[in-house]
């Protein structure tokens, strides 16, 4: 097998490992990639990342301990490089209400230093949703891995949030966001005619 063929095969193995979920949660540990791809696995990942970028995807590395930056214990994921649009969201399996509840919950947790009591979060969620819906969305976010709930009903950041969310960007976007102007009767009529 030539060198080029070997690299191409390793790229395929890396892509399969990263795309297909082989554990309960997505992502692959560095040592698993090392076992299959060899000690130069980071070079293969760099190559794959370059190819994925062309498709609007990227390889994201999440360290178990930020201070040690141990690659073997880190988890590698494939995420989007660009933000989704509202129409993308409509076609996904997320409901807009659910995403709004998730955004509110995570913003509160981020702004309070990584922890917030469930009661405080529900209090704010209940200004937008009925209580039962707010509780359902919180439970769903816990199941999806976005937040953790302790025995004392304290919410903290979950593994998925660490992978998918840019904390600074979210808080900045919330501060800068402008409420949508309420539609007048004329606007509604125009929308209907369209």
């Amino acid at each position: 097998m030539s060198g080029e063929e070997r690299i191409s095969r390793k790229l395929m193995i890396a892509a399969t490992m990263l795309f297909f979920k082989s554990h309960r949660s997505p992502g692959v540990r560095g040592w698993e990639l090392k076992n299959r791809l060899g000690k130069n696995y980071m070079k293969i990942l760099e190559l794959l990342n370059h190819k994925l970028n062309e498709l609007g995807l990227q390889i994201k590395t999440v360290f178990e301990d930020e201070s040690s930056q141990d690659l073997d214990r880190a988890r590698f994921y494939i995420t989007l490089t660009h933000p989704l649009t509202m129409s993308d969201l409509v076609t996904s399996d997320y409901r807009i209400d659910e995403v709004a509840a998730l955004a509110i919950t995570l913003s509160i947790i981020f702004s309070r230093g990584g922890k917030a009591s469930l009661r405080d979060v529900l209090e704010i969620l209940e200004t937008k949703f009925p209580k039962w819906k707010a509780e359902t969305y919180i439970e769903r976010a816990i199941r999806r891995g976005y937040i953790n709930k302790s025995e004392d009903d304290v919410l903290s950041i979950g593994w998925r949030t660490r992978v998918e969310l840019d904390q600074k960007e979210l808080l900045k976007a919330i501060i800068e966001a402008q409420p949508q102007p309420e539609k007048t009767n004329k606007d509604v009529q125009e929308d209907t005619q369209e």
Binding site: T16, F19, F20, K21, P26, G27, L57, Q58, K60, Y77, I78, T79, L80, H82, P83, L84, T85, M86, L89, I96, V99, A100, A103, I104, L106, S107, I108, F110, S111, R112, G113, G114, K115, A116, S117, I124, T127, K128, S150, D152, V154, S156, R160, V163, E164, L165, D166, Q167, K168, E169, L170, L171, K172, A173, I174, I175, E176, A177, P179, Q180
Partner: protein, 255 residues
């Protein structure tokens, strides 16, 4: 007397400090909401007033809790720096003002969801099959394992063919019986047709009739108001365009 009361208050004060520190740790409250310097001076004063082993032990525990709060203060500062020192009250008020759509639009700017595929690969399927075939037989009589010999496969094919012919024969016989019984009215009550003195025979007729219905030789008309089920035979096989399931409980209706 005075000393005892003073000791009691001192002890309560230390316990209160411990509880405040624990609350901050468990509930994720702002660790800067307490003045550590002031707590330490209070602790020193209490210890100087009560120099005994009991207080030394309590003091050690309190110092540990205060140290935990200082560690939390460090973490809090790091997190705050990450969140650009944005005040939580400001975020809360923004979230209250904004409508859901604006919140979602803000969230989308910071969200890069994970892409993963949940699907069986041929390789995984092969692993599964290998594992399945390597499993030991569950009962003593299945000592031959899961793999059938060619002879066993041949025998099972013959058996299945014979069973199919038997059912087809029974279907033909039951269909002609139904045609005969519905010649006058064009329909017959399900239970009147199916029921026989022996329960086995009733079950057998209902089973064969279900094939005739599925195949399109017989129609079933249900009247939920009168709780009636009528059978109407077709003169020839009618292909089914819209299929539906109908559950008939024989134990409840068989006579």
């Amino acid at each position: 007397m005075y000393n005892r009361v003073a000791r009691k208050y001192s002890r309560e004060e230390i316990e209160r400090i411990i509880s405040v520190c624990e609350n901050i740790e468990k509930r994720g409250l702002d660790p800067f909401s307490i003045d550590v310097k002031e707590l330490l001076s209070r602790l020193r004063r209490i210890l100087e007033e009560n120099p005994d082993l009991d207080y030394y032990m309590l003091d050690a525990e309190t110092i540990y809790k205060i140290a935990t709060v200082i560690a939390l203060q460090h973490k809090w500062l790091t997190e705050k720096a990450k969140s650009l020192f944005i005040d939580s009250q400001l975020i809360t008020s923004r979230l209250t003002i904004l409508d859901k759509k604006s919140i979602v639009q803000a969230f989308l700017k910071a969200w890069r969801p994970i892409i993963s595929i949940e699907q069986l690969t041929s390789q995984r399927l092969h692993h599964g099959l290998e594992h399945f075939l390597s499993l030991p037989p569950r009962r003593d009589e299945r000592t031959y394992g899961w793999k059938l010999t060619e002879k066993e496969i041949e025998l099972s094919k013959i058996y299945l063919e014979k069973e199919r012919e038997e059912i087809e024969e029974k279907m033909r016989s039951l269909y002609s019986e139904l045609i005969g019984k519905t010649r006058e009215k064009g329909e017959i009550d399900y239970w009147e047709f199916v029921s026989k003195p022996s329960i086995e025979e009733t079950y057998d007729r209902a089973y064969i009739l279900s094939f005739l219905i599925s195949e399109g030789y017989v129609e079933v008309k249900k009247n939920p108001l009168k709780n009636e089920l009528k059978l109407i035979p077709n003169t020839e096989k009618v292909p089914r365009k819209n299929t539906a399931s109908l559950v008939i409980n024989l134990t409840g209706g068989a006579k």
